[in-house]
């Protein structure tokens, strides 16, 4: 399948179409309001399911296989926020607080985008290393801490609380907690445990993701009006950064020995911007930063870009890079 076919296939997948439907619902001011409780429940379900599968897989994976990709993941999580901060501050001329805030988001990772690429790879029958959810967990926190440390060193006295509180906030935050929890449960109960709950956590997974993306569409659409405040620089940043970071992810994935599928997933992790863990941590630790910037760019630009065009693009990149 060539890149264009893949793009078309992706754009017409129930996932992407459901997301678009959610956006349309907001644009035509439909009273389609999915209850917040559904959002909470589905995000816990998806993260726990991802973790569970990853953990069960991890239970049969030799540790040696995981070490290199894990190191690469952490390295990217430290490198990306520094790069992003530099660009935002120098090129974008944004304030220290806003630059650090946006950098935290782009260095970290979006669990839903991860879920989407896993589902896409499954639909394409491209095998993916089972331990990728563990890497997802590894990538979430470092970037946020690095970015907040930068802010703290540049604007002493302005940020309340210590970095300890930030770590605590991230680690006990819902998304990382459930993901790691799922990993541990999967690791301990193994493949036999997973088999018991597969009709709930494995088989309906894609469908649940479609429903979730319907709701995500309504959420992201509410961010579209931020785009005016965000300005052209951040919109460009929100499209170019994932492409560059995605390419770095392809290189890192390949070098650390991941398969085509694993490399694509690594690229998507690199390219995606957090919008659950990062906003919560940033809002607490860096209240001066304007949420319109970091949410507008990560949720209003980068998330839809990755979901629709990014995933096939990074897959094509990985094919090209590994093929060559």
């Amino acid at each position: 399948m060539d890149a264009l076919e893949l793009l078309q296939l992706n754009l017409l997948s129930p996932m992407v179409l459901a997301f678009v439907l959610g956006v349309v619902a907001v644009l035509v001011r439909s009273d389609l309001r999915l209850p917040e409780e559904l959002y909470t429940v589905l995000s816990i379900y998806l993260l726990f399911a991802i973790g569970l599968k990853g953990g069960a897989e991890l239970s049969v994976t030799p540790l040696g296989e995981v070490i290199l990709p894990a190191l690469a993941t952490v390295a990217l999580g430290i490198l990306f926020p520094i790069l992003a901060y530099g660009v935002l501050r120098r090129v974008g001329r944004m304030s220290v607080a806003d630059s650090a805030a946006v950098a935290a988001h782009y260095g970290s990772v979006s669990a839903v985008t991860f879920t989407a690429v896993i589902t896409t790879m499954a639909a394409l029958r491209v095998p993916v290393e089972g331990f990728m959810p563990a890497l997802l967990a590894l990538m979430e926190a470092p970037a946020i801490v690095v970015a907040l440390t930068i802010a703290r060193s540049r604007m002493p006295g302005a940020a309340p609380g210590g970095l300890g509180e930030v770590w605590r906030e991230i680690l006990t935050g819902r998304s990382l907690f459930v993901l790691i929890g799922g990993l541990v449960v999967g690791l301990l109960s193994g493949k036999a445990g997973l088999a018991q709950v597969a009709p709930f956590f494995v088989e309906p997974f894609r469908g649940a993701l479609v429903l979730f993306l319907l709701e995500m569409g309504t959420v992201a659409a509410a961010r579209i009006r931020d785009l005016r405040k965000v300005g052209p620089f951040l919109v460009a940043f929100g499209i170019l950064t994932p492409i560059v970071f995605g390419f770095v992810g392809v290189v890192a994935g390949t070098l650390s020995g991941l398969s085509l599928g694993g490399t694509t997933v690594m690229a998507v992790m690199a390219a995606s911007a957090s919008y659950i863990a990062a906003p919560a941590a940033v809002r607490i630790a860096l209240p001066q930063a304007n949420p319109a910037y970091y949410l507008g760019s990560s949720l209003g630009v980068t998330f839809p870009f990755n979901l629709s065009i990014g995933i096939p693009l990074y897959y094509a990149m990985a094919q090209a890079f590994q093929g060559g």
Partner: protein, 100 residues
């Protein structure tokens, strides 16, 4: 029935601050509080918790002194950067001793 006049302080804030505000309330001498999930719009168009949907409304019945101190602290700590408003009213309560 003997009633006592006390102060009801209402704080409406982005949900993210709930835990912190509860700690503040306690620290300033509130002996109890009631929280409801609400949604709202104000001068700040956008904030981090907005897309998670909710504000919280905290209410606590306290003595006038506590109300005054609390209000000052909240205004100084949160009003600049966070989406928070606060106001006070008189209320008549039965068995006022449990609130002070």
């Amino acid at each position: 029935m003997k009633t006592v006049i006390l102060r009801r302080v209402t704080v409406i804030a982005e949900a993210l601050l709930e835990e912190r505000l509860v700690r503040d309330l306690r620290r300033f001498g509130s002996r109890g509080h009631t929280i409801s999930d609400v949604r709202g719009q104000g001068s700040r168009g956008v904030r981090a918790s907005e897309w998670e949907g909710r504000n919280v409304q905290l209410e606590t019945i306290v003595s006038p002194q506590v109300a005054q101190a609390l209000l000052e602290y909240l205004a100084a700590t949160y009003f600049e950067h966070y989406a928070v408003i606060a106001y006070v009213q008189d209320v008549e309560v039965v068995r006022g001793e449990k609130y002070v």
